[in-house]
């Protein structure tokens, strides 16, 4: 059993099933799995910290802070994610593969380039998520499992966009 926790990678079907189980437990407690609004809440808290009068009426930040709780479910959930991943990494004894190979073969090893892309990509992810009202965790998994039709639409459009763009960006150069 301990050996299994030392593996680098588990069966994706097992991981998916366990995430589905986790989602069910969260749902039973009246909560959903989500990541983008939790991260957006950090931004809202930053703005509140700078100046609470800066929070515009009718804005996203006002909405995120409206429950009058700082460390709510959404925020605590996302704050815990990196720690869970870290723990899983610490337990891993198997060798791990090299990282970002698809990026490096197309764009080289410049960290600067990668950091800029990560920043721009992050901006687009959040803008897209806020327009759509969720991300892959919120829409695809939580919405998808409830068979919410707009969530399925989100997933389809997401892949229909991301796949061609990835071919353009990362397909093996000839």
């Amino acid at each position: 059993m301990i050996r299994y926790f030392q593996k680098d990678k588990w069966s994706p079907y097992l991981v998916g099933a366990l995430i589905g189980l986790l989602l069910t437990l969260c749902f039973a407690a009246g909560q959903l799995i989500g990541a983008s609004s939790g991260i957006a809440k950090i931004s809202a808290l930053i703005e509140m910290g700078i100046s609470s009068t800066a929070i515009q009426k009718g804005s996203l930040f006002e909405k995120l802070l409206s429950n009058q709780i700082i460390f709510d479910w959404k925020l605590l959930f996302v704050l815990a994610i990196p720690f869970g991943s870290w723990a899983a990494t610490r337990l891993t004894k198997e060798p791990t593969p090299k990282k970002n190979l698809y990026w490096a073969r197309r764009f080289g090893t410049s960290r600067f380039k990668r950091f800029i892309a990560a920043f721009i990509g992050g901006c687009l992810l959040m803008i897209g998520a806020r327009l759509a009202g969720g991300c892959t965790s919120g829409h695809a998994i939580s919405g998808g499992a409830q068979t919410s039709i707009v969530s399925w639409i989100f997933m389809i459009v997401l892949f229909a966009t991301a796949i061609p763009v990835s071919f353009l960006l990362y397909k093996k150069p000839n």
Binding site: I19, I69, W73, G122, I127
Partner: protein, 183 residues
């Protein structure tokens, strides 16, 4: 402003997030090459994880619904137009970043330094959206059938039929991927 809500919600949120991050890492979806590998249709790990999570999750959720424990569904009320535009922008972002917000956080936990900038980008994107949000938000809600109904209530069939259908598609997916990967 309260710091925390109830003790149980606080503990549960932290444990759930921790487990989610743990599973993302062990699923290897906390890696750039796994996600881009999926988008290049070379590595089907992401779809295996997502699809299985959706099927198992839907069984669990509808089972809860049927056995008398009645959690309310939280269906998205974002207008379809914005869901589509948002998903497209998100797709471009996911391709450039190599992650989604949740997996980006898991990558951070695994030691991916570029996701420090990914996180800064996510936070900045929130500020950017927030600036336009007072004029955007009112028009973004939609309460039509697509938003208030699950597939089963919309089609007027028992959830068992829907979940049975999903499970069947999942089986076909597993067989198809096996075929693709054996080549």
């Amino acid at each position: 402003m309260e710091l925390f809500s109830t003790a149980s919600t606080t503990v549960f949120a932290l444990v759930a997030g921790f487990i989610f991050g743990f599973l993302l890492r062990k699923g290897s979806v906390s890696r750039f090459d796994t996600i881009i590998g999926q988008l290049l249709l070379k590595d089907f790990t992401v779809m295996k994880v997502m699809f299985t999570a959706i099927v198992v999750g839907s069984i669990g959720i509808f089972a809860l619904n049927e056995t008398g424990h009645l959690p309310t569904f939280h269906l998205s009320t974002t207008a379809t137009f914005y869901v589509i535009i948002g998903a497209a922008i998100f797709g471009v972002g996911m391709s450039i970043t190599g992650y989604c917000p949740g997996t980006a956080l898991a990558a951070l936990g695994e030691g991916a330094k570029d996701m420090i900038f990914g996180l800064l980008g996510l936070l900045s994107g929130a500020f950017l959206f927030n600036a336009y949000s007072p004029s955007l938000l009112p028009g973004m809600q939609q309460k039509d059938l697509l938003h208030t109904e699950t597939l089963s209530t919309l089609l007027g069939v028992s959830p068992v039929v829907i979940i049975g259908g999903l499970a069947l598609i999942w089986i076909l997916f597993v067989l198809a991927v096996r075929k693709i990967e054996s080549v």
